[in-house]
């Protein structure tokens, strides 16, 4: 019985540790404010209690003359609050729908030269080493293999395979993906590859010796390779890493698309 109880406590502790690790490991510095709010909310009742006792001792306690009136008022306010919450929920739903439609319209306008099909991301790869997504359009919508996929911000990837209603998309951040690109300020062509080290980083290789690359330069598709049309924004140069051999130098590129928040895409069909 004691052993069973110990085992149960062990499991509970492991769950708590895991949850803490997950939360802390995903926190960004600006998100610490949320943690501060949570901690402050946890400590607030104790703080209030302390102030109440302190006031009582010092005689500053406010006298509550009509408790019944306050109770009724409280009830009314609660009802009003629940109604407002309901309205807020409805507004949130409308806002989200509106945002999705706006994204579609913006995307359509931005890439008006191409015939496109809008789609939503419905699944992401389960593996830590693949960056594949599934979208909710397929053969029935005119989607075929190797069609380019873009987002409002820039290039997403290419269609790997299709079923009647879905398509598998290999994103440009996948380690097996290679995209021929060029720097907006020059004509030289470079190669962009996904890396394991970061999901928001591309490695630019095969940089010509004479090419001058600067931090902040835009990187766009070169049009070579026959899959991606020329001129679609891929990202910006983050930094250039010079090596002893100039042929081996490479640059880190920050993709224009935020793949962790990617939800709406367009498939270029023509």
């Amino acid at each position: 019985m004691k052993r069973r109880k110990t085992g149960l406590i062990g499991i509970v502790i492991t769950v708590i540790v895991l949850v803490i690790i997950v939360i802390v490991s995903n926190l960004e510095t600006n998100q610490m404010q949320i943690a501060q709010t949570v901690v402050s909310k946890l400590f607030m009742p104790f703080q209030n209690g302390y102030v109440y006792i302190k006031n009582k001792i010092t005689g500053d306690e406010q006298q509550l003359s009509d408790i019944e009136t306050l109770k009724n008022e409280n009830l009314g306010l609660r009802e009003e609050n629940s109604k407002l919450k309901e309205q807020l929920r409805e507004l949130e739903i409308l806002k989200s729908e509106n945002n999705t439609l706006k994204e579609y319209v913006n995307l359509k306008n931005k890439y008006a030269d191409y015939t496109t099909v809008p789609a939503n991301v419905i699944e992401r790869s389960y593996s830590n080493y693949d960056k594949i997504i599934i979208i909710n359009v397929g053969k029935n919508d005119g989607i075929a293999e190797n069609m380019p996929v873009i987002s409002e911000s820039g290039l997403v990837g290419k269609v790997l395979s299709v079923t009647d209603a879905t398509a598998k998309v290999q994103t440009i951040i996948d380690t097996a993906s290679t995209v021929s690109a060029s720097i907006s300020t020059a004509d030289q062509s470079i190669l962009l590859k996904g890396t394991l080290a970061s999901t928001q980083n591309l490695k630019a290789t095969s940089i010509p010796v004479e090419a001058s690359i600067l931090q902040g330069d835009d990187v766009v598709t070169s049009g070579f390779g026959g899959i991606f049309p020329k001129g679609i924004l891929i990202g910006t140069i983050k930094d250039v890493v010079n090596t002893q051999n100039e042929l081996d130098r490479y640059a880190n590129v920050n993709p224009a698309t935020d793949f962790s928040k990617l939800e709406t895409v367009l498939v270029i069909t023509q």
Binding site: L18, S25, N128, K168, T175, A176
Partner: protein
């Protein structure tokens, strides 16, 4: 009929795990790193039910995963199948009643599966080798899998012995008579 019930349980388990892996663990991550609970499932099938069921289930689950969301079809099946076979080897050589050995088995199975898959990806897609980044991801994935095994070990053991009873009941009888 009993075996049918066992197969049904395995199918339901796969569906639950698929749903968890794709949805829940896509955001419940350790620095963006997800666990791989398919490895845990197949390892446990191999451990409790035997290499035949473990291997076949691993192969089928892997092929399904490759079809649904993989870059190429077949390799996940081969490696998950191998983990299923490895499960029985572990069962014959180590105790599955000890939490420590189960943790070590999970760590070993995760490492074997992911290293194998990475080598195949390098050879097939000519991916650039990134040893440090790969080892960091692998280490976090192993830690995450170990956490999950510690949490779900009692339930998995119970279900494991139930399935073992269904699939191996005849063999146990012949040992005694």
């Amino acid at each position: 009929m009993k075996k049918f019930k066992g197969i049904l349980i395995i199918v339901i388990l796969f569906l639950i795990i698929y749903f968890l892996q794709i949805n829940f663990f896509s955001w419940f991550t350790i620095r963006g790193i997800k666990p791989n609970i398919f490895i845990i499932l197949v390892l446990f099938l191999g451990l409790f039910v035997g290499k035949k069921v473990g291997g076949i289930c691993g192969l089928i689950f892997g092929i399904i995963l490759d079809i649904l969301i993989g870059k190429s079809i077949g390799f996940t099946g081969i490696f998950l199948g191998a983990i299923g076979l490895l499960g029985e080897y572990f069962d014959k050589n180590f105790s599955k009643d000890s939490r420590v050995t189960i943790i070590l088995m999970t760590a070993g199975a995760t490492a074997i599966f992911e290293i194998g898959m990475y080598i195949v990806n390098i050879l097939k897609f000519h991916i650039e080798l990134e040893i440090v980044a790969f080892l960091i991801i692998l280490l976090l994935e192993i830690i995450y899998n170990i956490f999950l095994v510690i949490i779900f070990y009692p339930g998995m053991k119970k279900l494991g012995y139930y399935l073992e009873n269904i699939f191996k009941s005849k063999k146990i009888l012949t040992r005694y008579f």
